[in-house]
């Protein structure tokens, strides 16, 4: 039996992921779109003997070339021609959602419209006649409730039927007396061109009329394409003359006019103008006076949950690694194994990996909170509240979300900058993102704060996060003035209705992001810890992790640089060197270079650091070179070596200068 491919399209926040999960369950895999850095989700589904591949398209409002997401979505439909496209829409917000439906139909795809959240629509007394909509648009329409998995079977059945039909055969929306003859005339010219199979000539004409650069450069390359472009130009001039408006406006008016007609015939709103629950919540949440305090409260809550709730789990992990290590060492002794093997297992493997994995609870909880904020709809409000401020430093309210994600891990955070449409906006957000203190830096803080600031743990850690934020703002201002003068990008963003997040949704999000960290911890950090163990044991015959070992020699060599910052010991320098690989490795390395276990490490630190130098060391760890993974993701996202190298240089200089100021300033003020 032939395999059927179905793409799922839709606006953001309409339940697209929920539908995708309902279709595929656990049979999905996440990758990237070829050549792009946008996440691509695919899954498998079997239905009555049909083998179906489901592809989740990026969430978009339209199919112009406005953002990378839109280009990815439309190129997939044009180039890969899926057998059918399910367009999932929010029934309470039909009018705007249908704008995308029209575009999908114009693209020539076999579209099935899935009306989601019909229960919410009923609550708002919105009556929808799906048969009439189906008649208007000439496509099948199915009512579903993705969360309750209602209507899913019917949707699949209808979609499979639709998948068997020929593409580009559906009658299309008419553009009115004035526009229609022009579109037909130009369409006839386009039909004669040697367009590849996926392209609908009428769609090409419409996009050319809208001055779509991507389509234009595609048509230019074809024989006779230049003539078509010239004809379109003449028509544009003619239309502007007749309508007195630009063609974009004319076409958008026509489409929304068509939708308005459809709405009038098939949707009955009984309770217009009623305050929705979302509006009521927003009266409080984005209130002029309460909005900012509430925002700060949410941030505080996020930190409390991440750290307080994680504590018992961390103890458990700590205990089990100690236990396993004890068993392993005991076993080596019982078979008279060499001492180095016991050391490799206890110091190298268990000690290293254990000291990293212990922070997994923190990281998962943080990603859980972020997922709740995103799924509930609060993230968009946070952007709304913060935009004025972010705009002042040349950023966008949306930059706020990647910045917050930076507290979890800068790698997904930098990936999240893809939601920013403007290239320079994105670049600026990427450059300052490493200053947001990621969770991998937390192990270092926890260790030092536990050793030196036991009474003020929360406060000291909070001050470091605040320092990172302040410097991010400062550097943002400097970069904006020097690197991107005149930068300003729009803030046109939907504030989606508040929704109760689902457990599955949160767990999936948390797992996807958290497992990234485990993968890193499990493979790269494991290798690095072993590498360190060897460096600590070479050249042959030296005492483990002594100053004569390779690691000690390297540390000693660079140590004088950090003398004025208060941490000129070779142990500190060695651990910083390895922190380049990943910041959490700093803790592992400290354990190794002092050659002691977790508890004794605290004593060793107290002998070599003072509270002031410990704070300066934490400041340095916060600011200097983001880890290797971040550097590689910056390289990938900016597609050049220039920006990752720039990031390494500026962050290291900044780290040295600030920790120097902290230490010397602290000394002057009489701290020790």
């Amino acid at each position: 039996m032939k395999k059927i491919t179905i793409a799922v399209a839709g606006n953001p926040n309409v339940g697209k992921s929920t539908l995708f999960n309902a279709f595929t369950g656990a049979r999905q895999h996440v990758g990237n779109w070829p050549g792009k850095t946008i996440e691509k989700k695919e899954g498998e589904l079997r239905h009555e003997g049909h083998n179906i591949k489901i592809v989740d398209l990026p969430g978009t409002y339209s199919l112009t070339a406005y953002s990378i997401e839109e280009i990815v979505a439309r190129n997939y439909i044009v180039d890969e021609h899926p057998d059918a496209v399910i367009h999932i829409v929010d029934s309470t917000n039909l009018e705007r959602n249908l704008y995308l439906t029209l575009q999908l139909i114009e693209l020539g795809a076999n579209v099935v419209l899935a009306l989601n959240m019909t229960d919410l629509a009923e609550k708002q007394k919105i009556e929808i006649d799906e048969k009439k909509i189906s008649h208007f648009l000439n496509i099948p329409v199915v009512k579903i409730q993705a969360r309750k998995k209602q209507g899913i079977d019917k949707l699949i059945k209808v979609t499979i039927e639709e998948a068997g039909k020929k593409r580009h055969k559906k009658p299309q929306m008419r553009y009115g007396k004035e526009l229609r003859p022009h579109i037909i005339e130009l369409g006839d010219i386009a039909k004669k061109l040697n367009l590849s199979e996926g392209y609908n000539p009428r769609w090409i004409v419409l996009k050319l009329l809208e001055c779509d650069d991507q389509v234009r450069s595609l048509v230019e390359k074809i024989d006779g394409g230049k003539e078509l472009i010239e004809e379109v130009r003449k028509t544009r001039v003619h239309l502007v003359h007749i309508f007195g408006e630009d063609v974009d406006t004319v076409l958008a008016n026509a489409r929304y006019g068509f939708i308005a007609g459809l709405m009038k015939e098939s949707v009955n709103k009984k309770a217009e103008g009623q305050l929705t629950i979302s509006d009521k919540i927003d009266r409080f949440v984005t209130n002029r006076y309460l909005g900012i305090p509430f925002f700060l409260f949410v941030m505080w809550l996020m930190f409390t949950i991440t750290f307080e709730v994680a504590a018992p789990f961390m103890d458990l992990i700590d205990w089990s690694f100690g236990w396993m290590s004890g068993i392993a060492v005991g076993w080596v002794a019982s078979v008279n194994g060499p001492e180095w093997l016991a050391s490799l297992i206890a110091d190298g493997i268990m000690g290293g990996v254990g000291s990293v994995l212990i922070f997994v609870p923190n990281i998962f909880l943080l990603f859980m909170v972020i997922a709740i904020l995103e799924d509930s709809g609060y993230m968009a409000r946070a952007a709304f509240i913060m935009d004025r401020l972010m705009h002042k430093i040349g950023l966008h309210g949306k930059s706020f979300i990647p910045m917050i994600l930076g507290f979890g891990c800068n790698v997904p955070a930098i990936m999240a900058t893809r939601t920013l449409e403007n290239k320079k906006d994105r670049l600026l957000t990427i450059l300052i993102n490493p200053l947001m203190s990621c969770s991998a830096r937390l192990p270092v803080y926890v260790l030092f704060v536990g050793a030196f600031f036991a009474e003020y743990q929360g406060l000291v850690i909070f001050s470091l996060y605040l320092l990172g934020i302040t410097l991010a703002i400062l550097m943002g201002l400097i970069f904006k003035k020097s690197l991107f003068p005149g930068l300003s990008s729009p803030f046109v963003m939907e504030l989606p209705p508040y929704r109760m997040p689902t457990l599955t949704g949160i767990l999936v999000h948390m797992w996807e992001r958290g497992s990234l960290f485990i993968k890193k911890a499990g493979t790269m950090i494991f290798v690095i810890v072993l590498f360190i163990w060897f460096l600590a044991n070479l050249p042959m015959g030296v005492e483990y992790a002594s100053q004569e070992s390779l690691i000690g020699q390297m540390g000693s060599l660079i140590a004088p640089i950090f003398e004025p910052c208060g941490f000129g010991s070779w142990q500190a320098s060695s651990s910083l060197l390895f922190g380049f690989a990943a910041k959490e490795v700093v803790v592992g390395t400290l354990g190794t270079v002092y050659g002691v276990g977790e508890e004794a490490l605290v004593d060793s630190l107290r002998n070599t650091f003072t509270p002031l130098s410990a704070y300066a060391f934490m400041v340095f760890t916060l600011l200097y070179v983001p880890c290797m993974a971040v550097i590689s993701v910056i390289k990938k996202e900016t597609n050049s070596w220039k920006w990752p190298i720039f990031t390494v240089v500026y962050t290291t200089l900044l780290a040295w200068v600030v920790s120097f100021i902290v230490y010397q300033g602290g000394l002057l003020l009489g701290f020790t």
């Binding site: 974009d248 709304f384 509240i385 935009d387 729009p490 963003m493 939907e494």
Partner: protein
């Protein structure tokens, strides 16, 4: 009375008469439903004074005042 969308106060309603400007932002505003004839209501001004939140076509959209300047409305309430 014709006003710019950015000049409307909280709670005021208007019918869009024209959307000026050009380029991607103009196009995006059109796509989001800010077309001629659409009814918009100012829901809220952000705590720091900008951006604003409006209700259009039964959903909530936020945009900066500088972007709302290019949209002309007839005040209806």
């Amino acid at each position: 009375m014709e006003k710019r969308l950015s000049e409307l106060l909280e709670g005021e309603k208007g019918r869009i008469t024209a959307s000026k400007g050009s380029g991607p932002v103009h196009k995006r505003l059109l796509e989001m439903g800010l077309v001629r004839g659409a009814i918009v209501e100012i829901e809220k001004v952000a705590p720091l004074g900008d951006p604003i939140e409006i209700k259009v076509k039964n959903y909530n959209l936020s945009l900066r005042k500088s972007e709302a300047e290019n949209i002309l409305v007839d005040v209806i309430e």
